[in-house]
Symmetry: C2
Subunit: 124 residues, 2 copies
């Protein structure tokens, strides 16, 4: 199939796009399920300056693989001296019960995350 | 925490990045597992002009949620007249046993996909 990028971009789309529907003003984070099955949940998260409250730690029974697609964020893990900086394309897996918090998200642009929550506790 | 985007970008990274390690010449697609658990497998796919052989259909027992992060691709489903154009941020879920093929990927730039294979057949 011979196609130019110009032709491709003119084709209709039947899909959803993770960068669509991001409002200019976001008093709260936007959380949207993209796929829900008994074993996995894929969520879109859009942040703009939001962070976890001081002293708050997420402590989840499921594992969470997370990737930042746009923007910038800082993730902290309990007991670790160095926070984790996340920019576009950075991904990591948070094991079940690994206490973590979002220390910072960029206030000047939307930060778009995809989180894959996986229930199996044997995840590495 | 007050941070400028400049400070953030100078911080060390402890993570993997899906846009790293893409060679200039790619005779074959690159397939890399990013996370493997008994219930979910997350794979990075990098294509550059590759497509499914004529008449070939993927026919998988598991569901596959897929997103294109960079580049461009065209996906076809058996029995559907219109192919699906995928550009950065476009995502869709391929149910188990839904026969599909990659009709085209952009030969002029790498196309970076994330695929989440989820075993549960009750997925919608």
């Amino acid at each position: 199939m011979q196609q130019s990028i110009r032709e491709i971009k003119s084709m209709g789309s039947f899909k959803n796009n993770v960068f669509d529907d991001i409002p200019d003003v976001m008093p709260e984070e936007i959380l949207q399920d993209l796929l829900v099955t008994p074993g996995v949940r894929i969520e879109r998260i859009v942040s703009r300056g939001q962070s976890s409250p001081p002293g708050f730690w997420y402590d989840q029974p499921e594992g969470e693989w997370v990737i930042v697609l746009r923007g910038a964020a800082i993730l902290e893990f309990e007991g670790e001296a160095e926070p984790h900086r996340l920019l576009s394309g950075d991904h990591l897996n948070i094991p079940p019960r690994r206490r973590h918090r979002v220390a910072w998200t960029d206030p000047d642009q939307p930060t778009v995350w995809i989180a894959v929550f996986h229930a199996d506790r044997r995840a590495d």
